[in-house]
């Protein structure tokens, strides 16, 4: 399919692959395993900061996604949005934004009839209806990634260090670069199959509820 001479483009695709993409107006998939340029690119130097930062960024994005989903659920199903005009009229608000009021459900509270407990015939317990916010019933637990372990082997290819003259002359800038190590095959022809990997393990734990949410639940319990 790609018979022309291949030249690397700035984004790691071969030039003819880009041309093919333009011609056909379709997504062209480049076979990484068979492309020499890509293998060379994989073997190029990587700075240590990028290598460590990439999994950490991914973990923080995952955390943010989980928490934002939880917040959206709380706003959608535990609170009801009251338009500003209505809440202003009801509560004499001066802040120009919509308000949220808690969605309440009713629970039936049954107490024994204490005044007549000594009578031989027991009377029916007293029932009363108590409204409680739905948020106090749902077992909302924030789950967050607590620990992350990044494991890789790296072959150091260059270490550079230079004085930083811009701010403090005593400061030094340093950088460390290298290649990702892997289980390379002894056979020269099979080097393209070398396995370079980073092992990332994450541990999620239950976080305490945010203080704001705890305060809301606490306020409702005092009403």
């Amino acid at each position: 399919m790609f018979s022309k001479k291949r030249e690397p483009s700035s984004f790691g695709r071969t030039q003819d692959a880009a041309d093919y993409n333009n011609e056909k107006d379709e997504i062209a998939l480049v076979d990484v395993g068979k492309n020499d340029q890509n293998i060379k690119q994989q073997d190029s130097e990587i700075d240590l900061e990028s290598l460590v930062a990439a999994p950490m960024i991914a973990v923080s994005k995952a955390n943010a996604t989980m928490l934002s989903g939880q917040v959206q659920f709380i706003l959608d199903y535990c609170f009801r949005k009251v338009p500003y005009e209505l809440s202003k009229a009801e509560n004499n608000l001066t802040i120009g934004s919509d308000c949220y009021e808690a969605i309440m459900i009713s629970i039936v509270v049954m107490r024994p009839n204490i005044e007549e407990k000594d009578l031989p015939v027991k009377s029916a317990p007293i029932e009363s209806i108590v409204p409680i916010p739905i948020i106090s019933l749902l077992p909302i637990n924030s789950i967050g990634i607590d620990k992350m372990k990044v494991d890789f082997s790296m072959e150091i290819t260059s270490i550079s260090s230079a004085k930083d003259h811009s701010q403090n002359p005593q400061n030094r800038k340093s950088s460390l670069s290298g290649k990702l190590g892997g289980d390379k095959s002894k056979d020269e022809e099979e080097q393209s199959k070398s396995n370079k990997s980073i092992d990332v393990s994450v541990e999620a734990t239950k976080l305490p509820l945010p203080n704001g949410l705890l305060n809301i639940i606490e306020l409702f319990s005092k009403i």
Partner: protein, 64 residues
């Protein structure tokens, strides 16, 4: 284990904790106060509201 489906509300009489499982509450279970003879259960008219919230909560958990 990350999942804990029990929450607690304050007893309207004595203020002690009443441990409640929302799933069992929806199924019609009653829960006793740990300190006094008060028993709480879900009212019939609130079942659809709690049912909807719990089903959406389960969807959110399954996404994780």
């Amino acid at each position: 284990m990350l999942e804990n489906t029990t929450t607690s509300i304050k007893c309207p009489d004595c203020g002690n904790d009443i441990l409640i499982n929302a799933y069992q509450l929806l199924g019609g279970a009653s829960f006793n106060c740990t300190n006094c003879p008060v028993v709480v259960s879900l009212s019939t008219e609130s079942k659809p509201t709690l049912d909807k919230a719990i089903s959406e909560f389960d969807k959110l958990k399954n996404k994780k």
